[in-house]
Symmetry: C2
Subunit: 328 residues, 2 copies
């Protein structure tokens, strides 16, 4: 059954707004910010075969499309306010739209993030979400940035890494997993939980932060680049699930170091704030693991260096680039 563009919006997406000054239905949405707050915004575009597989349930796809955007707000320590959705669909498929909107709006409601506008059109499936949050403009307790890492800082990661990549490898058939194990890691890939509360709690504690979407080493590289520093990562300290821990070490390292789609937070903090970091972890109920430290830029050059060591302090060789949409 096919329905029109305006019916599609009205049926699945048009709900009264509580936080925005004006939601769906006009040329623009309007959003007011309290004094002292800045707007934080990010957008992500999801394409079938690149960011999700055709096998994903529409409800999970709706969840993930917003989750990856909320994860960007989390990395800045921003509080979610609102989002817009632009959607290209091959056809106005009501079964797809019902599931997609259910998953999307459930996650939105869980974070008090309301849909204030968007666009729908016919075309190859493409989901583009822009998310809006607020963060204090003040120095010190303001937005978490990639540029604040300093030599001597500890390097931390939230949760466990690599399950999403493990699921992808299982889908690709390069390894096989038991049914329950597969469902566990598939859920990690399809239903990431953005670390929104953690990001806000880290304001004033972390010196820099980024969310892990392209893989630990690639995303760490962005932090080092922006901060003008190097890093040493203790590869055996990188937290991983029981399912991933049962895999050969080569698979564990691939998935934890170059996995992608983790949507955990990678952040730095001075050693003097270790107790505050622990307290944030307890308060938000998120496991926070120290996985290395920030070092001065060794050669003074423009490219950062990441040293990898094992538990014994020996150098580890790992050759796998970060994910790049135009190189893979």
């Amino acid at each position: 059954m096919s329905i029109g563009e305006f019916d599609l919006i009205a049926r699945y997406f048009d709900r009264p707004v509580r936080r925005a000054a004006l939601g769906i239905g006009d040329d623009c949405a309007l959003l007011a910010l309290p004094p002292g707050m800045q707007l934080a915004t990010s957008c992500d575009m999801l394409v079938e075969g690149r960011h999700f597989l055709s096998t994903v349930a529409p409800e999970r796809l709706g969840h993930k499309a917003l989750a990856v955007n909320l994860s960007d707000l989390a990395a800045c320590g921003a509080e979610p306010l609102a989002f817009t959705l632009a959607l290209a669909l091959p056809s106005a498929d009501e079964a797809f739209m019902g599931g997609f909107s259910r998953g999307l709006l459930a996650l939105a409601d869980a974070h008090g993030c309301e849909l204030i506008g968007g666009d729908t059109t016919r075309g190859p499936l493409n989901i583009c979400i822009s998310v809006f949050g607020q963060v204090p403009a003040a120095d010190g307790s303001g937005a978490l940035l990639r540029s604040g890492a300093r030599a001597g800082d500890d390097l931390y990661v939230s949760g466990a890494l690599g399950d999403a990549r493990l699921a992808l490898e299982a889908f690709r058939g390069t390894l096989s997993l038991q049914g329950a194990d597969f469902e566990t890691v598939r859920r990690a890939m399809e239903m990431p939980q953005p670390r929104v509360a953690l990001g806000q709690a880290l304001r004033g504690v972390a010196s820099s932060a980024i969310d892990l979407s392209d893989g630990l080493l690639g995303d760490l590289g962005h932090v080092l680049q922006r901060s003008g520093v190097d890093a040493v990562v203790e590869v055996d300290a990188v937290p991983r699930s029981a399912v991933l821990s049962a895999q050969p070490m080569a698979v564990q390292r691939l998935c934890t170091l170059s996995g992608g789609d983790d949507y955990e937070l990678l952040f730095t903090a001075p050693p003097g704030r270790a107790a505050q970091v622990s307290a944030v972890g307890r308060r938000t109920g998120v496991a926070l693991t120290r996985i290395g430290r920030i070092a001065p830029r060794a050669d003074g050059g423009p490219r950062p260096h990441i040293g990898l060591i094992d538990a014994a302090g020996h150098a580890v060789v790992h050759v796998s680039a970060s994910f790049d949409h135009f190189r893979t």
Copy 2:
């Protein structure tokens, strides 16, 4: 030649920001608003074959992708501040990217609207822009909305309508145009000029406004729906170019009433403000034409009615729906 995702951003899009607190390169961009200002935001997704033809020059496509978004800000009377760009490309084609970014950034610079973030990925060509502007939160001189039209208001349109549709019909081969005429209307289709200054000048003067993207009758219907009123349009009064005026009357009516892609402003104002409307037209250098009036909702029902009359006041029959991406 193929380049990577991060190179692509750095080479074509990463420029220092002046108005935003933080631009490209972090998880979020940051934007501060002066006290008393609200954020106005809108997003549009452009798909090949739906919103543009494969024959369009990349530079013009870059222009149009931002123009249609700036037009939404114009319709709200907002001042442009910034935008984000999400781009899916079949390949990292440098000739395309060079032209596209040139057209895009030239229009951005002309309106002081800076690129603060985005996303690039490989996929079927898709361009999704979100635009951000500021508008006073104050009543009376705040954002122009679709919901403010009142019975008795005059109905106005800026510029001339229908050239973009005339060009589309020429591309489709349903009519033919002389070379110079074709170039004129093709330019209207590919290089629309968003009425940004006009929109801001109409704050406190117009009672409602919308930008014309789906065709006069369809977009007027949105205003009437939100405002709970009807309208009468004098079809011969709708302004059109010399090129369109040379076409048969049936073509003129199709193009002016149901054309689409005009990106002119349709707005209403009480008759007592006619002199103010004229002054705004002179000040901004944009032709403003009265094309009808707003009437009370005739039947008290939920659907608005648009009466069409000719210069003699006789009813005109016109059957052509608005453009709907899922119905055409």
